[in-house]
Amino acid sequence: MTNTTNEINPSDSKNSPNALHELLFQLADDDFILAYRGSEWLGLAPFIEEDVAFSSISQDTMGHATMFYQLLEGVVAINANDLAHSRPLTERRNAILLEKVNGPGHYLVEPRYDWAFTVVRNYFYVTAKKVKMDALKKGSYKPLAEAAVKVNLELYYHILHWKTWFTQLLKAGGEARTRMIAAIEKVAEDMDGVFNLGLCEKEMVESGFIESEHSLKQQWLRLMNPILDELKVTLPPFAMKSGNGRAGEHTKDLEDALSTLKEVYELDPSAIW
């Protein structure tokens, strides 16, 4: 996976290389860790049919992460695999919401995973991702704008999938609704971390890579409010309760995930696997 084609166009990025790095790391790390969480669900989803569908979404998401890491290869001259597997906790830029475990237990031992949390996290995230991709498509960094077009094609199906689950489970009432409302509260507590663009936000916006955090969030609300209204759900205020992943703040959940996902890689990082 060595880079050849993703030459940076100097006029696109020379004024704010840090802002571009930061943005690409945020995009790549978000998808990478969420796809990882999705892969832990394999074989454990509520239905065999859902296992197949969810796995397909996780693969797309891992594919998007790969695309963003490959864009970074050109910018920071480090191999995409190394970027994904070897960066320490404090260099990770994903939102903390996405690193949180799927529920109690380990993916191989007593996994009591929370489907409501998974549905809400994925639906809220993928809608935010859509808003971001729409902004990136119009952005000034060509390679990223092109990647956003490709990613967008697959998001249509992801959004439809999670929206269906979100709607059905809330409409079912009873225990399902109670669990979903609790999940919405839990996701809201850290949802601001997803919109957050980190310390370089101003530069990102000034360079025309992406729109501001505020604007992204407003668009998200415009998309989601009618759906939430119809389901009679009051959205709790968004926060960043567990910290700001964009600033390298992370939890034990990510630490554990990193040690699992690099277990084999680390046996010999220079070997060909």
Partner: protein, 320 residues
């Protein structure tokens, strides 16, 4: 009254005769066609075991999905395990159609799995402690599956034959995926090479057992005669095992691997491989869910079933 009963009897005999003739003529039997009880029961057992084995078979590889060492391998093994779940889904639907006259459905299949009445394939009770095992499963377990499933591609039961056709096409990709992992290890560092030899040693007996005992004298029962009689399969367990050796032993040797059975050789007079039998009493224990990982994997399935009960409840409410 008496007359009526006897004419019913005659009709049944006629039906049985016609059924056998259809099979012998190579016609496909479909889900709604008349079929003898023994045929239906044999199919239900075979296909639900095959389906549940695909699903339980996803679990040993699933261990390695989050740990795959590169982005490409992560994507590859995710896709592979997804396919296996898809095979399970496809096969369980075929089995569910056959179970309908008994008023049974997927819930019953899951319950039978948990109670131990429904067995899953012996090979999926084994441990997969290294990344080498992740490669070996794709390369040799899927390789063995291709050999045994190809043997049923022309099965007399149409829905099963058609499902197998789709499955076999995907299994070919799985074997390539596994082989690619193994090749990278074989061409890698001494530690990586040692990883494959270690995996082969660990999986050897399970691979020999994959095709089942050569005859009932080994384990007391064998379904192979009934399945051959009804045109579901053609070759015997031993013939399939020999095919496996013929295909894979040369490949193992060309990768510089040492065969775990050093007495093994190809007898040119008899035109067959002579090898040491695995411990078939261990096989009996394994399929009784007393294998090294039987309990852990059943537990995973069961936890998922219990933890998600509220989801199934919610959806059944939503539909009604």
């Amino acid at each position: 009254m008496n007359e009526k009963v006897s004419s019913q009897q005659i009709t049944d005999d006629g039906q049985y005769q016609r059924f056998i003739e259809r099979i012998q003529a190579g016609e496909k039997i479909e889900a709604d066609d008349w079929m003898p009880e023994e045929y239906r029961k044999t199919l239900i057992k075979l296909i639900s075991m095959h389906g549940i084995s695909e699903i339980m078979g996803a679990l040993p590889e699933k261990e390695w999905v989050p740990k795959a060492p590169t982005l490409r391998r992560k994507l590859g093994i995710m896709a592979k395990v997804q396919d296996e779940m898809g095979h399970g889904q496809l096969l369980l639907r075929v089995a569910e159609d056959l179970m309908k006259p008994y008023g049974k459905n997927r819930e019953n299949i899951m319950e039978d799995l948990f109670s131990g009445d429904l067995k899953f394939h012996n090979v999926f009770h084994m441990e997969a402690p290294t990344w080498g095992d992740a490669g070996l499963i794709g390369w040799l377990v899927d390789g063995a599956a291709i050999i045994s499933q190809t043997n049923m591609l022309d099965a007399s039961y149409g829905p099963y034959a058609r499902a197998l056709k789709r499955i076999c096409a995907e299994e070919v990709f799985h074997a390539q995926h596994g082989e690619s992992i193994i090749m990278a290890l074989a061409e890698g560092t001494p530690e990586q090479r040692a990883m494959i030899q270690d995996s082969i040693n660990r999986w050897w007996d399970a691979l020999l057992m994959f095709f089942g005992p050569s005859d009932a004298s080994t384990t007391g029962t064998s379904k192979q005669d009934i399945t051959i009689k009804y045109g579901i399969r053609t070759k015997t367990n031993e013939e399939l095992r020999q095919d496996f050796f013929t295909k894979y032993i040369p490949r193992m040797l060309s990768l510089g691997l040492k065969l775990p059975d050093d007495t093994m050789y190809f007898d040119t007079d008899q035109q067959k491989w002579i090898y040491q039998q695995p411990d078939w009493s261990q096989f009996k224990e394994i399929i009784k869910n007393n294998g090294p990982k039987s309990k852990d994997r059943l537990r995973l399935r069961k936890i998922s079933y219990e933890t998600n009960e509220w989801v199934r409840d919610a959806l059944s409410k939503e539909i009604s």
